[in-house]
Amino acid sequence: MLAEILQTLPQVLVDGLALGAIYAVIALGYTMVYGILELINFAHGEIFMTGAFIGVAMLILMTGLGWLAAMPAILALILVLVVTSILTGFMGVGIERMAYRPLRNSPKLITLISAIGVSFLLQDLVRFITEYKRGNYILTGPSMFNEQFAIKFSSISSSFSDAFFKTSTLILIISVVIMMVGLDFFVNKTKWGMAMRAVAQDRETASLMSINVNKVISLTFFIGSALGGATGVLFAVQYGTIDPYIGFILGLKAFTAAVLGGIGNIRGAMAGGIMLGLLEMFAAANLQLLTGGIFGAEYKDVFAFAILIIVLIFKPEGLFGKAVTEKV
């Protein structure tokens, strides 16, 4: 049995990393907003989904205009990523302004309901527009970056099979790494990043330091939503077909990844996302084998979540939860 698991391991790693990278960036959006407002922004999964639709719509439009054929595909993708992240970034800022800020001093549950409302609103809005324009709310983008590559794991040791991946997987992983390193740098090394951490730790006192707290909160929503929207585009390119409901399950899983990493902790969210992606792919590949055929690959989520629950029982603050002891 071990031999068979080893055989598929390289492919599990590649697929798990790709999926985990997506979870990780969405998880960042949850964890940043939670860190600063103690709000679970349930609309974040829908921002990811809207990003995917904006991206695919742009790609279809550009194909129709003949632009996609006229410029290098990677340039087109970068353009789409930049435009989409700016749009979803402002969308996030708008959602905070209209749906959360007026409720800032209400009980947290009220804001949570508002977030769920925004979530439904976005799903229906995207579905309406897509159906209106295309007659169907399931959308398939132009095929891009589909060239297959093999990593020759079998040449390292005969117990491994080769792993296959598409160019889009490579693009996805590289983009996510750039986003994560960029965000980590911003939060830990720049003045506004420091202001963000200060507001997350003590909003009232941050305002005594001349920091405009509302501006920092808007900035947080902009960054989280811009990253989420860009990830939506990458998701659409990687997996081809999207519908208005992809944000729901993916959002829940990314939120779980954020909790796993220790909610409010940015590096934790990154690690939690990657870990969840790997677990899920491992389960998909091996569950049938491990359970002697009782459970198939479709139980991968049960497996992944069972592991998460076990981790959280022993480490309720998450893997990278706040470790600093605070003296009062």
Binding site: K191, M194, A195, R197, A198, Q201, D202, E204, T205, A206, S207, L208, M209, S210, I211, N212, V213, K322, V324, T325, E326, K327, V328
Partner: protein, 235 residues
Amino acid sequence: MSILQLKDVNTFYGGIHALKGISISVEKGEIVTLIGSNGAGKSTTLKTISGQVMPKTGSVIYEGKDISKQPAHLTAQTGIAHVPEGRRIFPRLTVKENLEMGAFIVKDKRIVKERMEKVFQYFPRLQERLSQKGGTMSGGEQQMLAIGRALMSKPRLLLLDEPSMGLAPVIVEQIFDIISDLNKEGMTILLVEQNAYQALQVAHRGYVIQTGEIVMAGQGQELITNEQVREAYLA
């Protein structure tokens, strides 16, 4: 001309009438203290000045300008630094980052560095702990950091809320020495304290606040020897 003047200020917390027509003034170069028991409205007075809460009626005049409706982050930019009750340093920022937050609006890194050097003259301990997380320091060190952070904005008026709270007597001694030194170098200070004796010792003038009202005012030494004050706050 007073640097700060509160005229008939009424502040509410929800339905609670916390400040009932407070009028006080602080002259440039003075240490003025506001003493009173728990819940009398001392912290609320400072919060009303710094803009964390807005008064319902009355005015807060700072350097000739009414700032009573000004949000906290703008007031902080105009030269009022508020060291809040309980120190409120940022626990997961390092000492250096905490100090840098104090000079958030200063763009020139050299000026930030100069001011930090000046803070180290008052609090050499902070220099030794620059890369330590604020939350891991002792109470006294946190208080020094909180005052140091406030000094980073180079304020013209320093609001101190219970700087002696929860500290060992020797540390309290040190903190009051520094308050006195700062004042000798020209800093105007409004000091809120439960530790009335120490506060009145360093202050030029004092006000006694009781359930949201000023019930007595006078020179520091005058209040120390006042029978009522002695009975209520110095016993």
